[in-house]
């Protein structure tokens, strides 16, 4: 007789589950929050669920996730099953060798698998490019696409690659348990070996196939890292979307989606458990073998004949439907434009409006920083048409010949751009850019936590605020600010000056001056009153202020950086014509007004900039605070103090990078 654990054991299990579920309950609760915060309860509401149906990004990524998971599961189940039978029929040595290789994607760290596949695809694509170019040049019967990009197909391949091992690991033990004489018996009774496979082996190993498929599906749904490296830019799974959001602010819409998924799975599990309990009552037991797998299998329950057949039929039908719908989606020749911008950097209604007006579908993606965007473009992971980099990055992209010259004839609204923002150093002849927004960097501080008026960068390094300051999370800004504080140019190429700035930051860093190194995470931290001082962009400050009135913004007396983000078109953009249309649409006064209102970054459109206070009053029936307006659009006298970044020479960029890593590790 096994002794049941005492009350202590139950309490232990209870505490462990509390630990596991606390965050989940929290996110479920906050899916019903009235407000957008994930920490402050503002009343009960269902509106995030309603919103869910309008949030295209979330819906699309959920659809992508399901589609990829289903198709990958279906394919890997079939391939994996045949492979298992094949492996089973091989000699021991062969089988063991192959099984070792089979285990590699399962055992390897996800990031290593992701990286290796990413490199593989990129290498393959460049190889393919020259191959296709050659084929197309020698004949004209078949025209091969010469530019392949990461996307749905690569994502699918990656998912299949890591799903198959799970199927094999589930099917193989079933095969080993099978009576070896069964196949002989079937053949003795007149089956061909193919028939024996379908009539004897398949039914015998079916439970293994089903649980393998279910595990593969779960793994696909849960995957983030591998998808992140193989999906490229135009395809996003739910995990990737969420990852993009966690940097700034996760919309409760995602909580709503997750709550729905959670409830669905919960119901499935309950049903399964009840069924399982019944089966067990009838004395049916399942085989166990691989510790990891059985555990999972146990949770999935052991599928038995009738249910199993239904399950398989269901999976087949769903897979079929999705494949068909995917094919139709692919053959759908709706014109598109791929845009990559920053998070929460557009009034999303504009996208819908543009689509309705032109019939061009906008694939709107976001990148985290200029550096990330650069990496994405370099690694061949992206097939963007329009990107919105900042000034210094534009120079770099021009330098590396990655941008296309813009056809300004197709963009009449370019004339509305204020001359102040034309022919700037990053694009002196204005051949490549149409400014999107401009703004400044400044100090954001919480007036309840700081009892003086901050006017200088010095407070960032002031021991008084030790542990209360958030360092901006990119090297250019972090060192640029230090340079500015020390009285040097933000664009200095003097290594000694740069090292001096580095030492200033490093010294503060080492004594615990900084609570963290953040980019968009600053929203969470500052809005929640978790840090006293941060440096960030003016427009974002205003977004934060909406959620926390105690925040204040200042452009320090030493000066600061001012920047322009401009729309550019990539040299190898596949949809240039559509890109012109999009740029022209965004450059219009109306779009500029609405964007400015939505994201609080200043518009380069003369008319919009001037009319904004008026427009604001019309919209909200209250006058726009002058101070706010000055924060959005810094007045010329403030701008005079500010410096624009120019692209740094390569060796200085490397120095920045090296110092930055040195700081962080």
């Amino acid at each position: 007789m096994k002794k049941r654990p005492g009350i202590g054991g139950r309490i232990g299990i209870g505490i462990a589950f509390l630990f596991l579920y606390m965050p989940i309950f929290l996110l479920i609760i906050f899916s019903f929050n009235q407000g957008e915060s994930s920490a402050v309860w503002q009343g009960f509401s269902f509106h995030w669920y309603a919103e869910l149906f309008h949030n295209r990004l979330v819906i699309e990524s959920v659809a992508t996730t399901l589609l990829v998971s289903l198709v990958a599961t279906a394919i890997s189940t079939v391939v994996g099953t045949f492979a298992s039978v094949g492996l089973y029929s091989m000699g021991r040595r062969w089988r063991e060798g192959l099984m070792t290789v089979n285990n590699i994607p399962m055992m390897n760290a996800d990031i290593v698998t992701g990286v290796s596949m990413c490199l593989f695809f990129v290498a393959f694509f460049s190889g393919w490019g020259s191959f296709a170019g050659w084929v197309n040049s020698v004949q004209h019967v078949i025209v091969l696409p010469d530019r392949l990009k990461l996307g749905m197909a690569t994502l699918l391949i990656a998912h299949i690659a890591f799903d198959i091992p799970y199927v094999i690991l589930n099917v193989s033990p079933r095969l080993r348990q099978m009576d070896k004489n069964l196949v002989d018996a079937a053949q003795d009774l007149g089956c061909t070996w193919m028939q024996a496979f379908f009539k004897v082996i398949l039914p015998e190993i079916m439970p293994g196939i089903v649980s393998g498929a279910l595990i593969a599906f779960t793994m696909s749904i849960d995957d983030f890292v591998i998808s992140y490296f193989t999906a490229g830019s135009s395809t996003q799974t739910l995990s990737m979307t969420i990852y993009g959001m966690t940097k700034k602010r996760v919309t409760p819409v995602v909580n709503a989606v997750s709550t729905i998924i959670f409830v669905v799975v919960l119901v499935v599990l309950i049903v399964n458990n009840v069924r399982e309990a019944r089966l067990e009552a009838r004395g049916e037991r399942q085989h166990r073998d691989h510790p990891k797998l059985d555990a999972i299998r146990e949770y999935l329950g052991s599928p038995k004949s009738r249910w199993m057949k239904r399950g398989v039929a269901l999976v087949c039908v769903v897979a079929f439907v999705t494949v068909v719908s995917m094919l139709t989606a692919f053959t759908n020749s709706q014109p598109v434009v791929n845009v990559c911008s920053w998070g929460e950097y557009i009034d999303e209604d504009l996208i819908t409006e543009f689509e309705e007006a032109t019939g061009i579908r906008v694939n709107y993606q976001t990148a985290e920083s200029n550096e990330t965007l650069y990496s994405l473009l370099k690694s061949g992971g992206a097939d963007y048409d329009v990107v919105v980099p900042s000034d210094y990055m534009i120079s770099q992209l021009i330098e590396e010949d990655m941008l296309a010259e813009i056809d300004y004839n197709a963009i009449p609204n370019f004339s509305l751009i204020d001359d102040r923002f034309k022919n700037l150093p990053y694009d002196p002849e204005n051949k490549y850019t149409v400014p999107y927004t401009w703004g400044t960097v400044g100090i954001i501080y919480n007036t309840t936590m700081v009892d003086e008026e901050i006017t200088s960068w010095s407070s960032l390094y002031d021991p008084k605020y030790a542990g209360q300051v958030l360092l901006i999370g990119n090297s250019r800004d972090a060192f640029g600010i230090a340079l500015n504080y020390l009285g040097y140019s933000m664009n200095t190429t003097n290594e000694d000056e740069i090292r001096e700035a580095y030492n200033l930051v490093k010294e503060a860093y080492d004594r615990g001056q900084f609570q963290g190194k953040v980019m968009d995470e600053v929203f969470q931290a500052m809005e929640g009153g978790n840090a006293a001082i941060a440096t960030y962009y003016a427009g974002d400050f205003l977004s934060m202020q909406e959620n926390n009135e105690d925040l204040a913004f200042v452009i320090p007396e030493e000066g600061s950086n001012w920047f322009v983000d401009a729309m550019c078109v990539l040299k190898d953009a596949p949809h240039k014509e559509n890109a012109w249309k999009w740029i022209d649409f965004i450059a219009s006064t109306d779009s500029n007004l609405r964007n400015m209102d939505y994201i609080w970054y200043a518009s380069p459109n003369t008319e919009a900039l001037e009319k904004y206070p008026e427009w604001y009053e019309e919209q909200y029936e209250e006058p726009l605070d002058e101070e706010t307006y000055n924060i959005i659009a810094a007045p010329p006298e403030t701008l005079e103090r500010c410096e624009m970044y120019v692209v740094l020479p390569k060796h200085i960029r490397e120095l920045y990078n090296e110092l930055w890593i040195d700081l962080g590790i």
Partner: protein, 395 residues
């Protein structure tokens, strides 16, 4: 006079409405080889586990040497068990398996029946383990891994592991069940030898009646959670108390009869002389006739006449099934009678064994559906073993 070492007094084991043991009273003498015999589900293993301390009876007492030990945990009892599938520790080698119990220390009963553990010095552990391995003929196997041993060797390790602790009582739960026929026979002799050498009590659980008869001093036949009969192997075989025991121990033809007088029993409306006495006049009884107690004679000389319906050659004898008035008897004889021949039979008075009617009457002892397939075929442990071997070589 033999000492009563273990007593089970009125033990009941019950799970909900399921009565596993029904008021068992059992006294076990010191240095005795006692076998609990019965079909699966009869409660024999439960009885053993109660003695071993793995189960606590729902009611009733377990006494060891006169002391109540119901609540003494297994690790403080002076009994050791050889488990059905040996339960050898796969992570330890032969030596460490055997030394396991010694490393736990010796149970000592101190004042006021307090039991505590006394550490055994390493040198003594070494000595005792090696000695024990010698007793079970496994000298030189100390460093072997358990998995590298054959079934018989594993069996010996299990026995050594239990005996090395010098228990007062050794419990054996179908220890030979997983061995093949030959090995089983050898181990039976081996076990008996060890028991005599060590001079301790063995309580042996089996469903194999031959094994029970061959080894035991006392056999306890159980069925349905009740003890059906306790006795020496001879008593049990020759004087079964009811149809169940008669059938379970050896082959028997069991026929409805009527006791007409002391020494006179009537079957098939014919009176026979027998040795049994003490039944009421005209009391309906069960009559057991062992197949080897029947002599085949010429038809006209027989007390009963019948037709041979089947003959099977068994080596030493023929199993002959004879139809008497529609009731089929099994006769074991060295005489060959062809199928279909008419024969007569003769039974000596001591060939009859008369039993009172019981709930088992009419359930056993008819060979109408006789087939050659002996119990072994239906023996679940044998089947299991075969299966296991099948899977083993696959790994």
């Amino acid at each position: 006079m033999p000492k009563e070492l273990i007593q089970l007094r009125d033990c009941v084991m019950q799970y909900g409405d399921d009565v596993i043991l029904d008021h068992i009273n059992l006294y076990i003498n010191d240095k005795e080889f006692l076998t609990l015999l019965g079909p699966s589900g009869c409660g024999k293993t439960t009885t053993l586990r109660i003695i071993g301390g793995f189960l606590s009876p729902t009611s009733g007492d377990v006494l060891f040497d006169g002391t109540r030990i119901n609540d003494v945990p297994p690790y403080k009892r002076m009994v050791n068990t050889v488990f059905q599938r040996y339960a050898l520790f796969p992570h330890l080698n032969v030596f460490e398996n055997v030394a396991f119990g010694l490393r736990m220390g010796e149970t000592v009963i101190g004042e006021g029946n307090a039991r505590y553990k006394k550490k055994i010095p390493e040198s003594e552990i070494q000595k005792r383990v090696l000695e024990m391995l010698e007793v079970v003929n496994l000298k030189g196997f100390e460093k072997r891994s358990i998995t590298a041993l054959s079934g018989g060797q594993q069996q010996r390790v299990a026995i050594a592991r239990a005996l090395v602790n010098r228990p007062k009582v050794l419990l054996l739960d179908e220890p030979l069940g997983a061995l093949d026929m030959r090995l089983r026979k050898d181990m039976q002799i081996e076990l008996k030898r060890i028991q005599q050498e060590m001079e301790i009590t063995f309580i042996y659980v089996t469903h194999d009646q031959e094994e029970a008869l061959a080894m035991s001093d006392t056999v306890v036949v159980m069925d349905g959670g009740k003890i059906q009969q306790i006795g020496t192997p001879e008593d049990i075989y020759n004087e079964p108390k009811n149809a169940f025991v008669a059938d379970f121990i050896g082959e028997s033809n069991i026929i409805d009869g009527i006791m007409r007088a002391d020494g006179v029993v009537e079957i098939f409306n014919r009176k026979f002389q027998c040795l049994d006495k003490g039944f009421g006049k005209d009391e309906p009884v069960d009559v057991v006739i062992r197949p080897e107690d029947i002599d085949i004679v010429a038809e006209d000389q027989g007390q009963l006449k019948g037709t041979v319906t089947s003959v099977t050659f068994k080596g030493v004898h023929y199993d002959t099934i004879v139809d008497f008035y529609g009731f089929k008897w099994l006769i074991q004889t060295t005489d060959f009678c062809p199928e279909g021949s008419r024969i007569g039979i003769k039974i000596d008075p001591d060939g009859f064994h008369v039993m009172k009617k019981s709930k088992y009457s009419g359930m056993f002892g008819d060979y109408s559906s006789y087939s050659e397939e002996y119990d072994e075929i239906n023996d679940p442990t044998l089947l299991d073993q075969a299966e296991e071997e099948g899977t083993d070589d696959e790994e």
